[in-house]
């Protein structure tokens, strides 16, 4: 990592802030979703079960989508090619996106969290900073996954199609709506290979059962492994598509 990483991070943040509507949507959309979940849930106790999972799902979703599209645009508009001809390394670029997006992702997490706790009266039994740390770990994976997947998209339409392909199956199989243990064996097996399963398990264990980051060491470890793996994949594939 070098000062160039921070330069890229600064630019990513600058671009996002300049796009006022995207910033507004970043705040409003999760609140709408949280409200829908909060109002539609038949029993209050179920909300305490679902709310933590919503936090994990949203950071994966937004991290993936926003970075995916940003990196895709960087590819199609030719600026990535320009960067690759400069002294910038691929890790600088991926690192820059991570540092640029994570503050927004954390801000979003905070907004949803306070909304859930103070407006929807969700109970939680852990410390807030531990939730934030855990969310960062999910977020790193999400940003790298988005960067990696953008290699396979030639335009925004294709990138958006990756949501039903890559994000939705994780949402249904991660235990957000029903426990993984109640699914057929082969689906439980599939769920074991999806990062979001560990994200939901971990954050639920903290918020609902009062465990801390050390107690959920397995989930943290698996998510970190996913994050590192995806980071390497994202950096290795970054050059692709710049020279077509």
């Amino acid at each position: 990592m070098s000062s160039r990483t921070f330069t890229i991070a600064g630019r990513v943040m600058h671009q996002l802030v300049r796009d006022r509507r995207t910033i507004a949507l970043l705040v409003i959309v999760p609140l709408v979703i949280a409200s829908i979940v909060g109002v539609s849930v038949p029993e209050k106790s179920m909300l305490d079960y679902i709310a933590p999972a919503v936090l994990a799902v949203l950071i994966l979703f937004f991290g993936f989508l926003l970075t995916g599209i940003s990196v895709l645009r960087e590819r199609t508009q030719g600026t990535l090619e320009r960067l690759m001809a400069s002294p910038v390394s691929r890790l600088d670029v991926v690192g820059g996106y991570l540092l640029g997006f994570l503050p927004f992702a954390l801000l979003q997490t905070l907004i949803i969290f306070f909304y859930m706790v103070y407006v929807l009266n969700v109970n939680y039994y852990c410390e807030l900073w531990q939730i934030l740390v855990f969310q960062v770990i999910i977020g790193i994976g999400a940003v790298c996954l988005g960067t990696f997947c953008s290699v396979f998209a030639k335009n925004e339409f294709q990138m958006v199609q990756f949501i039903p392909l890559i994000i939705l199956p994780q949402v249904f199989l991660c235990g957000l709506l029903w426990p993984v243990g109640q699914m057929p064996d082969y689906l439980q097996w599939v769920a074991k290979f999806l990062p979001l399963t560990y994200g939901v398990d971990g954050i639920r264990a903290m918020m609902l059962y009062g465990q801390d980051l050390l107690d959920i060491g397995k989930e943290v470890g698996v998510l970190l492994a996913f994050a590192v793996g995806l980071l390497i994949l994202a950096a290795v594939t970054l050059r692709r598509g710049t020279s077509s």
Binding site: R4, T7, R11, R18, T79, R82, S86, P87
Partner: protein, 221 residues
């Protein structure tokens, strides 16, 4: 190649001009042979000393001209704040965009984008500058302006490598290479290339056709 000259890569679409430039700036790796730029293989060290202006304007659409130039100045490690500020101002002024510096790229016309793109390519004052079809899509007046920018750069001792498919650009270059099907068919100054045809009144266009035909005849023999 001598310093401070403009070297034109001339050839029709698909001749390999862009591929050659990409190889030279290190975006592509050669399958065979080696490439040397400024006496070395393309590497991050060399990347600091070359400028590259891609075919498309390649700028951040949401950001202003000044922000784009500033970004590339930082990328090329102009860490000193005052020096960076001076360079950013100097290159934006060089391409006559100073009064538009706070406009976002997406609000600019094609020619203005091209000028902003050029400012980004030269902000770190590289001794060698690669320009991939910099004059494509420019109106004749702006084309002349661009050639004025280019000659002010060569006067500063910067070597320019310019690809183009118009003979109009070719006439401005100090030296030329004609390319076809990925190969150089001829090299020399515009005057030398014209003389080689054996007809003093020949244009560069005639010269290009002459070398292409000669190449084909050789193949057929």
């Amino acid at each position: 190649m001598p310093r401070g000259i403009s070297f034109g890569l001339l050839g029709p679409n698909g001749a390999g001009k862009t591929t050659l430039i990409r190889l030279l700036v290190g975006l592509l790796r050669p399958k065979l042979g080696t490439i040397r730029v400024l006496g070395r293989r393309p590497s991050p060290k060399i990347a600091n000393r070359i400028g590259y202006m891609p075919q498309l304007p390649s700028l951040y659409a949401e950001l202003s001209i000044a922000q784009n130039v500033e970004f590339f100045a930082r990328i090329y490690h102009l860490t000193d704040r005052t020096e960076r500020k001076q360079r950013v101002e100097a290159v934006i002024k060089l391409v006559d965009m100073w009064e538009h510096r706070n406009k976002s790229i997406m609000s600019l016309s094609g020619g203005m984008k091209q000028r902003a793109s050029m400012a980004c390519a030269i902000v770190h004052n590289p001794p060698m500058l690669f320009l991939d079809e910099p004059t494509v899509g420019l109106d004749p007046e702006l084309r002349v302006t661009f050639w004025e920018y280019f000659s002010s750069l060569t006067q500063q001792g910067i070597t320019l490598i310019i690809s183009s498919h118009t003979m109009d650009d070719a006439a401005h270059c100090d030296r030329l290479a004609f390319m076809r099907d990925g190969k150089f068919v001829a090299q020399g100054t515009p005057a030398e290339l014209r003389q080689a045809t054996g007809r003093p009144e020949a244009s560069l266009e005639d010269a290009f056709l002459y070398f292409v035909r000669r190449g084909e005849e050789k193949k057929n023999v």
